[in-house]
Every structure is written in structure tokens, then in C-alpha cells.
């Protein structure tokens, strides 16, 4: 028997597999396909203070081994998320869930986090300072250590639950931003969000995405994510959730060797809705193959 249990800030997960925000909705579509309670947890659709439709379409462009999205934080707003989505979610998922939060000002982050913090279903607040798809939005907080620290402090001041800051890879020095968040009181770091990308249609000679640019995700970005998780995990003393192009049990183990305590799966859910189930089922086999008895033994193993 192998041990797949891992612990994030006192919350024990049956396994480190977590569908990433924006690729799993509120879980309902996937709950029709399999019992999503096998997941370690999941991070629900990014929530803002006000309802948002998001960006104009087309919002999706295909890439080699990946895709660009420019959804732009479409969500019904925190009040409706709490009154309508969370009760429905509670029927299909019985474990602590990760609430992903975005904002356009420090006050908005604090407002939304304070409301979600009161919800018993919420285990962790994942604060997205990294959305590439909204102007003057999250990413501007995630590209400056002082701004990221200010968001962290403001959220920590109004919450009781573990706060993980989700970082963007679209920066020169991600380590300095992660450290600033840690110093400001973050309980953990989640990375990476999507990388800024663009495609141009040869027929129309115009960008495929209506918003011109968007966030590039999928297996193509996995090596970049592994590198950044490795760098951040080495520099901070708080848990790291690794994500970016993960699409197999082998990728989960590689991400953990780089320093991740848990691993989020994003774009792969959109192509294979069963991918998280398949990874969870395959994990013990791959662990045995590589002589791993306990996943906790390999966290950051590549650095030792």
C-alpha cells in the first residue's frame, strides 16, 4: 500500500490531485461523469465581488499542446456564488473546497474573501493575483512584490482560513513575489497561472482571440511550471501548490519532486473530462514503479 495523503495548512487531502479554477466550473458537469469526492479537493471558478460576463468571444484559441483562453473571470459575483452555487456544490462534493478569488482593488479582494471565509465548505482561499485576461485586474497585483504583499495582508486581516496566493509566471522574478507574499502572512503559494500568449488567424490576418491576447495553458507549459515551482519552493517555507500543464500521474510526481505539496490540473480537464479520475487511479501504480511509498517523502526531492 502506498500513501497518497498530503496536508495543506492542516487540511489533509486523500491525494494531491486538485482540478484548477476555471477548468472545473463548480463541479456539476464532472459530477455527472464520476464521483468527484475522489478528488483531493477542487478549486472553483474564480469569484469576484460583482457579477462579470467576461470578455467578448472568441475567447479560445488552439495551440500546439495547449490552448489560449481569454474568458475574463466570468462569474455570477460572490453573493450569488454563496447563495446559489455553493449549496448546489455541497450536494456533489463533501470535502473542503478551494475558493478562488479575484479582484480589481485591494478592498474588493478583502470583501470577497471575507464573505467566502465564513462558508463552512471553504477549506482554503486561493487568491488570484495573476489573471492575465482583465485590464487593471489581478495580474497587476501579481507582478509587483509590494502590491502582492498588500493584497495578502488585506485578505489575511479579514479571514481565518488558510490563504494561498496564486501567482502569474508573466514576471521577471517570481521568487521575489512569492517571498513578499510569505512575509505578508500567506499560508501558501499556488503557481503558475497561464502564460500570456497570442495566435493570429492567417485567413483573417487578425488575432484569433477577440481580446487579442490570452492565457496560454496545457502540457506545453509544464516545463516552465516545474521550473518556477522548483524556484519558489526552494525560496519559501510555506506549502506550494504546483500547476501548469499537468496531465498525468507522472507529471504530478514530477511537480511534487520540484517542491509542490499538492498539484492542480487545469486545461487537461477540458480535453479529457476524466483526466483527474484517471490520474488518481494511476497514481499508486506510478508510485510503485518509481519506488515511492509515501508522496510526502518526495516533496521537493529534486532539491535534496
Amino acid at each position: 500500500m502506498v500513501n497518497t495523503k498530503v496536508t495543506l495548512s492542516g487540511i489533509t487531502l486523500d491525494n494531491p490531485v486538485i482540478p484548477a479554477s476555471g477548468t472545473f466550473g463548480y463541479g456539476y458537469e464532472f459530477a455527472e461523469l464520476y464521483d468527484i469526492n475522489i478528488l483531493g479537493s477542487f478549486s472553483f471558478k474564480g469569484t469576484t465581488k460583482e457579477p462579470r460576463f467576461g470578455n467578448p468571444t472568441p475567447r479560445i484559441a488552439e495551440c500546439p499542446n495547449g490552448m489560449i483562453n481569454s474568458v475574463g473571470l466570468q462569474n455570477p459575483g460572490v453573493e450569488k456564488v454563496i447563495s446559489e452555487e455553493l449549496p448546489k456544490l455541497a450536494k456533489c462534493f463533501h470535502k473542503p473546497v478551494i475558493a478562488n478569488v479575484s479582484g480589481f482593488s485591494i478592498e474588493e479582494y478583502a470583501y470577497t474573501c471575507a464573505l467566502l471565509d465564513k462558508e463552512p465548505q471553504v477549506g482554503i482561499l486561493e487568491v488570484n493575483v495573476s489573471c492575465p485576461n482583465v485590464h487593471h485586474g489581478g495580474m497587476s497585483f501579481g507582478t509587483d512584490p509590494a502590491a502582492a504583499a498588500a493584497v495578502t495582508k488585506a485578505v489575511k486581516a479579514v479571514t481565518t482560513k488558510p490563504v494561498y496566493i496564486k501567482l502569474t509566471p508573466n514576471v521577471t522574478d517570481i521568487v521575489s513575489i512569492a517571498k513578499a507574499c510569505e512575509e505578508a502572512g500567506a499560508d501558501g503559494i499556488a503557481l503558475i497561472n497561464t502564460m500570456m500568449g497570442m495566435r493570429i488567424d492567417l485567413k483573417t490576418k487578425k488575432p484569433v482571440i477577440a481580446n487579442k491576447m490570452g492565457g496560454f495553458s496545457g502540457s506545453a507549459i509544464f516545463p516552465v511550471a516545474v521550473r518556477m515551482v522548483y524556484q519558489v519552493a526552494e525560496a519559501v517555507n510555506i506549502p506550494v501548490i504546483g500547476m501548469g500543464g499537468v496531465s498525468s500521474a507522472e507529471d504530478v510526481i514530477e511537480m511534487m519532486l520540484a517542491g509542490a505539496t499538492a498539484v492542480e490540473i487545469g486545461a487537461a480537464n477540458l480535453v479529457n473530462p476524466f483526466i483527474c479520475k484517471e490520474i488518481i487511479e494511476d497514481l499508486p501504480r506510478v508510485m510503485e514503479k518509481y519506488n515511492i511509498k509515501d508522496l510526502n517523502d518526495i516533496i521537493g526531492g529534486a532539491r535534496k
Partner: protein, 244 residues
Amino acid sequence: MKQSIFTIQSNEKLTESVCKMVLAGDTSAITAAGQFVNIQLKGFFLRRPISVCDYDENTLTILYKVVGKGTEAMSQMKAPHKLDILTGLGNGYDTSVSGGKPLLIGGGVGVPPMYRLAKNLIAEGKHPIVILGFNTKDEIFYAEEFEKLGAEVHIATADGSVGVKGFVTDVVKTIPDYTYFYTCGPEPMLKALSDVTTTSGQLSFEERMGCGFGACMGCSCQTKYGNKRICKDGPVLVKEEIIW
């Protein structure tokens, strides 16, 4: 929604750019005409959403247009190649509101879903009038198949090489007593139909999709009844809810 493996039984060209593929597999998740399937292709990250033309217990028929590298790769596939397909996607058309004499209007690659819809309506004892629009004679496909179902078929071609010279809307204007309309085709055609039709109707929309099953919000649109995902709450919207 169901994920299953289908086996290509045949794959042939109907016109220069439109192909017909018949696949064997589990079709039990398909519940209505106007739904679509999402096909995984080796070497391409995203699946390809294609409307269902027809199906029975264990076969699926799709008609698809070669528009890019993915559909080009599909057009080269031969039996018994296997494909991973998500089936039963989208809401499809609701036939309960059709009345006795509904119009079914397909433009170009919007024609395929009209086939199963016509079949269903005829089985329900209704008398659908089918209007098919194409650019020119060489691009026409499936007109005979609709006739074989026993439907009244009108054709419009932009260059007048077959049928009425002009657009499907020109044919619609000549039919006085239809009870409802169903359509699928390019968005300018849908808009024009929404303007000229005198009854309510259901219109099927296209959008670039991420997942095809409602998870990513990639294909959202705003309607008078709130935000909708084309892949999950659509692709069929009713005339009254559409914001043009």
C-alpha cells in the same frame, strides 16, 4: 454526456469541402436533433465539435466541412480508424412546440442537424418544409436525402445555379402559413431569418469552444434570459432570447 470510442465505418466526400463520416459506437447519450459531438484528434489539443446529422442505436453520422488542419486530418481518416468522442452535448431542438408545418432552414454546413430534425418531426406526424441554402450547385449536399424522408424541399443558391436565386430568406418570404422555424447556419443568415420570420423559432449558434461541456465558459454569450454557454445551454437558442 458520454465519452466512448467510435470506429469509422465510412468517410467520403459529398462535395469539394464537405465530408460524410459514419461511425459505430455507443450513441445512448444523444437525446435530441441539434446536439453535437466533440471529437479528439491525434496531434490536436482541443476536440473538434461537430453537429449530429443522424444516429441510431449504434451508429453516428456526421457531415463536416474541411475548414482547417483538424477537419483536414479527419477527411483523410479511413475505416476502421478509432476516435475518442464525447456524445450527447448541447441542448438540441425542442420539437414539442413546432406546430404542424414548421420550416427547417439550413445554410451550408448548417444543413446536417436539420436532417435528424426533419426525421423526428415526420415521425411525430408533422409536415416540415425544408429550405437549404448554398452558394452554388457544386456545394449542394443532402437535398435528395431530405426528399427521401418525404419532406417538401426548397433550395436557394446565391448564384441561382439551382432553385431560387438568392438566400434562404427569399424562400421563407414565399411560404405563407408555416407554424414555427428551426435553423442552423452562418450568423448573418440566422440574423436575417430572425428578422423575416413571422413566428417564433429556434436558432443554432456556433462559437469557438474550449471543452464543449460547460466547464470553461469559453463560448459564453449574453441573452435576454441571462448568460448562456453555447456548448451546454445552447447551441440552440429561442428567437425571443437572442440579443443581436
